[in-house]
Symmetry: C2
Subunit: 441 residues, 2 copies
């Protein structure tokens, strides 16, 4: 009998899982139910679409539904919403405009992703926007482009990216943030202040301000410190795991996402979970952690698909690598923030340095700021944060590798980083920060 | 009694060693003998100086002799050549224009660097140039700028960098190389061909051609395939450890560089060696290896200085990270080349992929080519090579960290690399190559 795999949700994790399973089991019957019109879609692209850097919404998809159907023999059903899962009988119920569907499975992957956190709005909500799903990006952009003054609520990654997009479009932007500086859940204050000052050059930044009411459909915002009249409001206060469909039947973890073992299995042996709806383990703390990002989703999906395909594979957990940009600044972190490290019982100490990106004599050097956090007891690296104008990503990737394998301060000092005067320094800024952590120096 | 440290050679390694020793032993008497007028100098900058990207030769120095004398209390003697070392009596003999010097030591650091390999030239050598030491860069540049057609012998890193510099200055350049493609001792042919084709757009590239005679002071070059009449010749066929001064008294390794233990000690317990004149151990093969690059020199010096300063530290060895550029291309490698890996007894297999540097929808994506080499038996990563137009350095740094700690293919697959559409892909090119190495895929 032919084995059947059903996948709920055709985003990064779902399509990775189904593609990997297909590769390993060429005869498996694979069906993907996707509620929207897009699969393998890239929500990270929404701010750039709003900025006007590209116009074709199809580019949001790595591959089209057709591609998956024809090239990978994966039965992708778009605009099809799963309404119920019977885990005991192993049946998924779904519906589309063509009617109801009932699909049996031998393996199930839950990859329903995340949903934006919402705020209550009075008097309708015709001027309130969430920049969450590419399937709605065209409509979102059309509306935002028609407005002049726009409030963004939330100074996290999406809020800052939308601020860049909208200010680049010539909009007047008011960015209202509860934290004391922008990106405060991503990077520590030393670097956060640098970013905040930069954003404040283009955008009205309101810090330490709590939204109390959104009225008139999104045209009026009342905070604990003031009142703003705008043409529309983008809400970007974070996301939550989308577990509505299964939360009463599948075991959730303490983060609110679906609990899985290292094979990405839920409490049902044949049911896997992958992507933003799934809890992970933080490699540094060994504690449950939740990282709703595309690369992690893809790899979770890959692992789930491998195991379904009969090739055993385990997911090692996460170190929470994040990177964003604001105009000329790239902003990245990996590991734990300093306060976070304390909460988990470490004894963190840190070094923060400002340097240049190129050799003294090479023209065009840019600023770069590096913070490295290590544990006093074990001398292991706990976190790294970088804000700079070039070559930020790779340095964070290197630190991600280091943190995942428990590199000490000295291990990191000795990483044989490449040196090219045009894009680096003979004592790399990361190594300069590391040297400061060598206490006896 | 005050301890005395003498350092022979004021380049990267020598100044790192003396600075580190100073920090740890504030009262030590530290003397550095440097044969040229420059200390902590940066030979990597010469091609950029020749290109005209900067004009002040003082920028070749990270710090001036004055800085070291005043801020670090290091007695730097420039234009002072060491003529002999008596290792039994612990005395260094040197001379400058002011006469002869005799200096006793408790600790000695040999950091004499490297020398360019030379070729015999007939009829004088007034048109033959070596781009080796910043102290001669002004004169070198003046002469090269006055010529029109210039031959470069050697298609390694320096040859390619000089080709960029001189072709950017509008010179007609003939690049004569013995290998089948440029940079053949740095990267494998798949990527080497890409670089070679790019360089050949600006420069006359002669491959597989062996120089037999250089005549008329550098104006005529005769190879096994032809004869070239030029205005001058740059010889860039590599470097050798500069061990002339000590080679009869200090133990050399099989690479011809000075043999040291992991503390950077020579066969004399109080004599250390660091920098380009020093042999290292390849972390992958555990065999003697020689890497004449600035970052390694700096760290060797740091380790020597630490041990002299009483803080025990060991040097872990090298993985041979290299990076260069040719116009829009960055070219980097780390670890072993595929053939090199075979010679060392590994069973290498590899994947080479071509990708893009940015998300499908993000404008301005550049090409990037990645080769990853792993060992069939252990599944460990043996080497990585990247040629691309952006974010090459960081990816190689990440692979350097991975290779230094013995990451397997699967370990590397799971490195949580950052993803930002503006500068990367959700499946990073490195990870795409790694996936190809997962054989059962």
């Amino acid at each position: 009998m032919v084995e059947k795999l059903v996948v709920i949700g055709g985003g990064a994790a779902g399509m990775s899982a189904s593609s990997r399973a297909r590769k390993l089991k060429p005869n498996m019957e694979i069906t993907v139910f996707e509620a929207t019109k897009m699969v393998s879609h890239a929500p990270c692209g929404i701010p750039y679409f709003v900025e006007g850097l590209f116009d074709d919404e199809n580019l949001f998809m790595t591959y089209t539904p057709q591609f998956f159907r024809e090239k990978r023999k994966i039965d992708v059903r778009i605009n099809t919403k799963v309404t119920e899962v019977d885990f005991d009988s192993r049946i998924v119920y779904a519906e589309s405009k063509d009617g109801k569907i009932k699909a049996e499975y031998d393996y199930l992957v839950i990859s329903t992703g995340s949903l934006p956190k919402k705020l209550p709005v009075e008097d309708g909500d015709d001027r309130v926007f969430y920049a969450h799903h590419p399937a709605h990006a065209v409509e979102l952009r059309e509306k935002l482009w028609s407005l002049n003054t726009i409030a963004i609520i939330g100074g996290g990654i999406l809020g800052v990216e939308m601020a860049e997009a909208l200010s680049s479009r010539g909009k007047k932007v008011i960015l209202i943030h509860r934290g004391e500086y922008l990106l405060n859940r991503m990077i520590d204050q030393e670097l956060g202040n640098i970013v905040t000052q930069r954003v404040a050059k283009d955008v009205e930044v309101k810090l330490g301000e709590k939204v109390e009411q959104i009225k008139n459909g999104g045209r009026v915002i009342i905070t604990d410190k003031g009142k703003y009249e705008v043409d529309g409001t983008v809400i970007a206060i974070g996301v939550v795991p989308n577990v509505e469909l299964v939360k009463d039947k599948i075991k959730l973890g303490e983060t609110g996402a679906i609990k899985v073992d290292e094979h990405m299995r839920t409490n049902y042996r044949e049911v896997y979970s992958a992507g933003d709806n799934t809890e992970s383990i933080n490699i540094i703390t060994k504690k449950p952690y939740w990282v709703p990002f595309a690369t992690v989703a893809n790899k979770m999906g890959f692992v789930a698909g491998s195991n379904i395909g009969g090739h055993e594979m385990t997911f090692p957990g996460v170190v929470n690598t994040q990177i964003t940009k604001y105009k000329e600044f790239y902003i990245a972190r990996v590991g734990l923030q300093e306060e976070e490290a304390k909460k988990y019982g470490f004894k963190p100490f840190s070094a923060t340095i400002s340097g240049k990106t190129r050799a003294r004599y090479y023209p065009g050097a840019k600023d770069i700021h590096v913070k490295i956090i290590a544990d006093e007891n074990t001398k292991r690296i706990l976190g790294a944060q970088i804000v700079g104008e070039e070559e930020v990503l790779g340095r964070i990737d290197m630190m991600a590798a280091a943190i995942m394998k428990g590199f000490t301060i000295e291990d990191t000092f000795f990483i044989e980083m490449g040196y090219l005067p045009a894009i680096s320094r003979v004592w790399d800024p990361v190594i300069v920060a590391i040297r400061q952590l060598m206490k006896d120096e």
